[in-house]
């Protein structure tokens, strides 16, 4: 199962640590039961956000040890290279996002390129899309349930 975490859920997990649903999903990734996918552009955004004063002030109150989680996450993310020229920019989702927040477009690009099963986000602009081609766009708690159900079925087959 290929999974993309957008900036919002990564920031949320860094703040909440093991109390976040995304942290549970990361434990599945650690066991290689699911796989985290990113590209250079999506990772660069996290690093950019993590350097901002607003984030530093917020994270200091939420979870001063966030860097340990960030390091673990980085070790689990597979960074993919992409050729954006092959993307069909006429997809209605691109039009919708362009009007709301075009910075979210990069997450749709990677989903389209890498056969991503779930895009996990807490961003309402992305959540409102529901799906993008084969990718389900879900909140962390819903994604965790879907992953557990899918793994449970796989377990039954074995």
């Amino acid at each position: 199962m290929n999974i993309v975490l957008d900036t919002s859920v990564i920031i949320s997990m860094l703040g909440s640590g093991s109390a976040s649903y995304t942290y549970d999903i990361m434990m599945y990734a650690k066991q290689e039961l699911v796989f985290f996918i990113a590209n250079e552009e999506t990772l660069a955004e996290i690093e950019d956000v993590a350097s901002r004063k607003k984030f530093i002030k917020w994270i200091a109150q939420k979870n001063p040890e966030w860097q340990e989680i960030w390091q673990m996450l980085q070790s689990l993310i597979q960074v993919k290279k992409e050729n954006n020229q092959t993307i069909n920019l006429n997809h209605p989702n691109y039009k919708k996002l362009e009007n709301r927040d075009e910075k979210d477009l990069k997450f749709l690009y990677i989903c389209q390129h890498q056969k991503v099963d779930i895009l996990i986000t807490q961003d309402k602009d992305l959540l409102d899309l529901g799906t993008h081609n084969q990718t389900k766009i879900m909140k962390p708690n819903d994604a965790l349930l879907l992953i557990q159900e899918t793994l449970s079925k796989t377990d039954d087959v074995k």
């Binding site: 920031i11 549970d24 309402k124």
Partner: protein, 105 residues
């Protein structure tokens, strides 16, 4: 089961107690067999193996009714923990939407 394992199990349960149809299904599974099958549905895989071993050991000593009672207890506690996680998730979602432009430059 150690106290630490029990705490992890309680926190990791994501089953929603309001879902009665699923609850009845889970309950019948719990009554009919070992704890393992219901645990696989309810508990995060991280602690699954450890918890399976522990629960299988103690499940043999319990009656089916005692198993159900124990699971109900876990689910009640797990649901409370889940509710608090959900609230935190929703609160973050609102915070993100209010701050994402500033955070992303």
């Amino acid at each position: 089961m150690t106290t630490k394992t029990k705490q992890i199990v309680q926190v990791k349960i994501t089953f929603e107690g309001e879902d009665l149809e699923n609850w009845e299904k889970l309950k019948s599974m719990w009554q009919g067999a070992s704890a393992t099958s219901i645990l696989r549905m309810a508990v995060n895989g991280v602690v699954k193996n450890q918890a399976d071993q522990q629960i299988n050991k103690s499940a043999k000593k319990r009656t089916p009714e005692e198993n159900v009672e124990l699971m109900e207890n876990w689910i009640e506690k797990g649901s409370k923990a889940n509710l608090s996680r959900l609230e935190e998730q929703e609160a973050f979602g609102d915070w993100w939407m209010a701050n994402k432009n500033e955070l992303r430059g």
